[in-house]
């Protein structure tokens, strides 16, 4: 018996020893393997020297376009510009080879070079390239954009969009607009107008006068129309406006009722809104072409602030049917609703992310207002902001940034627009000429 056991052990060692030796030898002969699981999260340094003005008429755009690109990229909080006065190399010719060593010396990890000219037809022609400095390679293909000289800001936004997408992998969003309510005057006699501006606050124009109160403008999926609520008739009513012509039309709802909080469906053919009658507020949908309305909820509680999912199949909305305002999701055609918010406090103004994975909302808790996000099933709630009054979130076209209204405390308190990354970083105020509230982000422009 003992001999048998010893024989077995010996045989096992004879079999395993070569395998172990081979493994050890393999470890020594093969490449060294390490796993990196921890990194850093910090803005990526980049350089964008002034574009090369290739014609005399283009000189005024060379620096301006570079500044808008830098503002776009640095404004995301994901990038950090290397100041131009730190540049060692000067780009004097768009086609000249890049001195990568000079850019590495100033720790620029990405480099954007470009040239601008005005052709014989008076059009602005912009060419640009993006480089990975440390790899010494061009990233992607160079691009050329052509437009009118008055559209130089849009051209700059489009260039920044290309750079942003190439470096981050995210969809672009700089070439987009925001419709908002412009607010002037004291709090007790505030005048409100609907305005439209670039996402960064530039180029604001106004679509209505201050003769009546206007609320909650919302862009259509194509960006060519705007829904809003107006007190022009004394009651809140929903209007749809063509952005290009600024003509508007009232959407007919039941007589003697109040309709508000409208929002387009993803295909732009239907709107969903709140209608208040007899002291009760419920959700309705309307086919814009036919004017046919359909009741979606019929509860004694208040249902409002509806927002479609990106596929148009579901609606997230606010209801106090449980005793306090909470968030619910139901089919777009109406039906049983499922509650998704369960935290302490009051939830409102939900908006479905363009990516479909998150819902942004306003939360009031312990005397403070927050903008937050949660999964569509209510998991992973995260509060991104906290202040005296934050409300009304709207998503950037790529679902990476949220813009919202922040109002300061006191009689002289003023409403303004702010943006924040969905990670909770990079909280910034959007510059506006006047007080501003109720932002709604357009889709990416064509």
């Amino acid at each position: 018996m003992t001999k048998m056991i010893l024989s077995l052990l010996t045989a096992l060692m004879v079999v395993c020893a070569p395998a172990l030796a081979a493994q050890e030898q393999g470890d020594r002969d093969g490449p060294l393997r390490i796993e990196i699981t921890e990194g850093v999260i910090e803005p990526l340094p980049y350089a964008v020297p002034d574009l090369v003005a290739e014609t005399a008429q283009a000189s005024e755009y060379a620096a301006n376009i570079a500044r808008v690109i830098a503002s776009d990229l640095s404004g995301t909080g994901l990038f950090r510009e290397i100041p131009q006065n730190a540049h060692i190399s000067r780009v004097t010719n768009f086609s000249s080879p890049v001195q990568f060593a000079d850019w590495r010396a100033v720790n620029a990890q990405a480099l954007i070079t470009g040239g601008v000219s005005v052709d014989d037809a008076g059009r602005l022609v912009v060419r640009f390239r993006l480089f990975d400095v440390f790899a010494g390679q061009e990233l992607g293909e160079g691009l050329q954009l052509v437009g009118t000289t008055t559209s130089w800001r849009r051209i700059a936004h489009k260039m920044a969009d290309q750079v942003y997408s190439r470096l981050t992998g995210e969809a672009p969003y700089f070439d987009s607009r925001v419709v908002f309510v412009s607010e002037t005057g004291p709090k007790d006699a505030r005048q409100k107008r609907i305005g439209v501006m670039d996402y960064d606050g530039a180029g604001a124009t106004y679509l209505t006068d201050a003769s009546s109160i206007v609320l909650a403008p919302r862009f259509s999926p194509g960006g060519d129309r705007i829904l809003f609520t107006s007190y022009e008739s004394g009651f809140p009513k929903i209007y749809v406006m063509d952005v290009a012509s600024a003509t508007r039309q009232e959407l007919q709802t039941q007589q003697g009722t109040m309709s508000f909080a409208p929002r387009f469906s993803p295909d732009g053919r239907t709107i969903v809104y709140s209608l208040s009658t007899g002291g009760n507020t419920d959700l309705y949908s309307m086919d814009i072409a036919t004017g046919q309305s359909r009741r979606l909820t019929s509860a004694p509680s208040i249902e409002t602030a509806p927002s479609f999912s990106p596929d148009g199949q579901q609606i997230v909305f606010e209801s106090d049917r449980s005793g306090s305002p909470q968030l619910y999701i139901m089919p777009a055609q109406g039906g049983e609703a499922q509650r998704i918010s369960f935290g302490q406090g009051r939830y409102g103004t939900p908006v479905w992310s363009p990516r479909g994975d998150l819902v942004a909302f306003t939360k009031q808790s312990k005397g403070r207002f927050h903008i937050g996000v949660m999964r569509t099933d209510g998991r992973e709630e995260r509060l991104l902001t906290a202040s005296f009054l934050d409300e009304g979130p709207t998503w950037s076209p790529n679902g990476r940034v949220i813009m919202f209204t922040r109002e300061t405390q006191g009689e002289t308190g003023q409403a303004g627009l702010y943006s924040v990354d969905i990670t909770g970083r990079n909280l910034r105020q959007v510059p506006t000429q006047t007080g501003a509230s109720d932002p709604s982000w357009s889709p990416l422009l064509n």
Partner: protein, 360 residues
């Protein structure tokens, strides 16, 4: 008797033997104490118990009253610290010419720049807000210290060296937090708003040798059509041979220790910046192969992605480019690896797994 009975019998005998001789049935001795005694004589005992005569105390010199200044400052009484104006030895009459007792100085106040407030809820240390999120917090450098990827002491010209080392400014890594702190998570009024700035961390990187050309010098000597490949090839040209030749020349030392591997891993992760990556790219793990020269510098043209999992082709490209930047940037001065083990680290496969970076 079969084998089973034999084994059973031996086991039982062994067990009984262990129980008997191993002390299993032995009771623990009761605790006892040993006291050493000494026999003394009756005379010695009488001398021990004899009381001293009262006049013996008179021969003890009366201590001189302490100086007034010492009385006020020193507080030998443990139970009650003397209050202002109170003497430390009140039973002794102060000498006639003693000055008036000096008030005890007030306890030193904490300096103004020391944070003394404590948040109400201190269950978790709130990380210092910083634009940089890193696996380990980095202290805020002094204001006049240049931000760089590594800590480095300011160099001074060495007159004895053949080639004086170029003066390099002192640098320190940028302050970093360990996680993202949103506005909603920031501590409110009770939290301290200022604290003493810690000194920069001691240098973790040896100073650059005088013979080693700096990044700028390398750049200046590069041709006009410079690229990372050309620059690194030029920099490595004189020091190393092609991979085939290195194999025969490289020392066949022992494999890297765990500490040396960790050092390399930490060096690379300091430059692995995932802050600008999309959520898709942050779900993509890439395996990157790279070859290093004997001076520890990566050869840019050898960096390639050999595997990617968990994402799309586009996200793999973003993840690879971030990994490539990390390898080149932090290896620009050469990774700190033992040259006698060059054969062990010449070819490296680095797996960049961003799973833990998604929630930061």
């Amino acid at each position: 008797m079969n084998t089973g009975q034999l084994i059973s019998g031996l086991a039982h005998v062994g067990l009984i033997g262990v129980a008997v001789f191993g002390g299993a049935f032995r009771a623990e001795p009761l605790p006892f104490e040993v006291t050493e005694v000494t026999a003394i004589s009756a005379e010695e005992y009488a001398a021990l118990i004899a009381q001293p005569e009262p006049d013996a105390l008179a021969t003890i010199a009366t201590p001189e009253p302490p100086d007034a200044g010492e009385t006020a400052v020193e507080t030998p009484v443990e139970d009650a610290a003397p209050s202002a104006g109170q003497s430390a030895l009140p039973e002794l009459a102060p000498p006639d010419n003693a000055p008036e007792p000096v008030s005890e100085p007030a306890p030193p106040q904490p300096p103004e720049d020391v944070a003394v407030l404590v948040p109400d809820r201190a269950e978790e240390a709130t990380p210092q807000p910083a634009p940089r999120v890193a696996p380990e917090a980095v202290a805020q450098p002094e204001p006049d210290v240049e931000i760089d990827d590594v800590d480095r002491q300011a160099s001074e010209a060495d007159a004895t060296a053949e080639t004086p080392a170029p003066d390099e400014p002192e640098t320190a890594r940028e302050a970093a937090s360990t996680r993202i702190v949103t506005e909603a998570e920031r501590a409110e009024a009770a939290a301290p708003t200022q604290s003493v700035r810690p000194k920069p961390r001691p240098s973790a990187q040896p100073p650059v040798e005088a013979e080693t050309p700096s990044e700028t010098e390398t750049a200046e000597t590069s041709p006009a059509t410079d690229s990372v490949d050309a620059a690194l090839a030029e920099a490595l040209g004189g020091a190393t041979e092609p991979a085939g030749g290195q194999e025969t020349r490289a020392a066949q030392g022992p494999p890297l220790t765990a500490g040396e591997k960790d050092g390399l891993r930490i060096a690379v992760q300091e430059c692995w910046n995932v802050g600008a990556l999309s959520s898709d790219a942050l779900s993509t793990t890439v395996v990157v192969a790279v070859s290093l020269g004997e001076d520890g510098r990566p050869m840019a043209n050898t960096i390639e992605m050999i595997d990617a999992t968990g994402g799309t082709t586009a996200s793999a490209r973003q993840a690879f480019e971030a990994a490539r930047r990390a390898i080149i940037r932090c290896g620009a001065r050469g990774y700190d690896l033992p040259v006698e083990k060059y054969a062990s680290w010449r070819d490296i496969e680095m797996t960049f797994n961003p799973e833990r970076m998604r929630i930061k």
